[in-house]
Amino acid sequence: MTTKHISDTDIQQYILDKENCEINIIDHIKICKDCKTKAEQYQQLFTKINEQTKPAFAFNLPELVLFQITKPKTKFSSSIFFIYLLAFAGVSLIVILFYFVLEYLLKMFTDVSPLFMYLIIIISTIILAFQGIDVYRQYRKKMNILNFK
């Protein structure tokens, strides 16, 4: 057992987590009047802090925020128009490419032996299944966070 007075940090730790506190600290507090008094004061202090009423806003915060979020837009959003234009250009490019290379693509699949084709399909299916499971796990994790679990 230690005869030297215990630091405030150790006394606080003793109050917060008695079970994992070192035995010599517990023994010292039992016999040292000064440290025991300090420990009792910290105990009361923590209890009083916990008893304090929680503050709350004196106004309706959701209402105020939602009012600002849902304000009607007065300007035409040029960024949305640009996004649609880009998407249209992208789709058009893919269609044109397919038109020119479709013949060669079909040839590539018909010239491969059936055994090799089955192998490609099986491997692709396995990879897709693993990816699907992973996506589902991620989804569950996100839903738990969103549901404040």
Partner: protein
């Protein structure tokens, strides 16, 4: 959150209601002016709404919003040139150690039995904003050291150390207060 991202802004109200308590604790402890609190609280949720799509699911949604609240308050304090935590606490510690040495057990115990609740509220108010916030998040909101570290973006060890100092400082200021009243 998905509903909000899909354009259903009213669903954001549910998020506000669920996290308002934590945000209020942070704002009340860091900002003293009640008018500013109103603006800051709105600012916090407007920022949250804008940043919602960038939420990475690496922490609880409430912790992430708490982090936005803490940073918004921190920016406010910096703009107003208010100190969140004194750089050196040597002065405070010297004063407090003097008090501790001269006090006796009976006097010390009296204060904790008398009107602790009343004095405690005013003494917590005097603490630096960071200490107030840490005490509130740990004792009132019952957050773990890890969650507090995420909100304040401080290392976990620093959070623990600041909390110990804050409680020590609070206990000693309560004793000093009582001595002054006695004189």
């Amino acid at each position: 959150m998905k509903q909000v991202l899909d354009g259903d802004t009213s669903a954001f109200g549910t998020i506000i209601k669920k996290t308002e308590g934590l945000v209020a604790q942070i704002v009340f402890k860091m900002i003293n002016n009640s008018e500013d609190r109103k603006d800051i609280a709105q600012d916090i949720y407007l920022k949250t709404f804008k940043k919602l799509s960038s939420f990475k699911f690496q922490s609880k949604l409430s912790t992430w919003i708490g982090q936005i609240a803490y940073n918004t308050c921190l920016n406010y304090l910096e703009k107003k040139k208010l100190i969140i935590l004194p750089k050196t606490e040597s002065e405070g510690e010297a004063l407090s150690s003097e008090t501790t040495n001269t006090s006796n057990n009976e006097t010390e115990n009296l204060i904790f039995q008398k009107d602790l609740s009343e004095i405690l509220i005013s003494e917590i108010d005097i603490l630096p904003p960071l200490y107030k916030t840490l005490i509130t998040l740990y004792h009132n909101e019952e957050l773990s050291y890890e969650e507090i570290a995420q909100i304040t973006e401080l290392p976990e060890g620093t959070v623990k150390s600041y909390l110990f100092r804050a409680r020590k400082s609070l206990r000693e200021s309560l004793l000093r207060k009582y001595k002054k009243e006695e004189l």
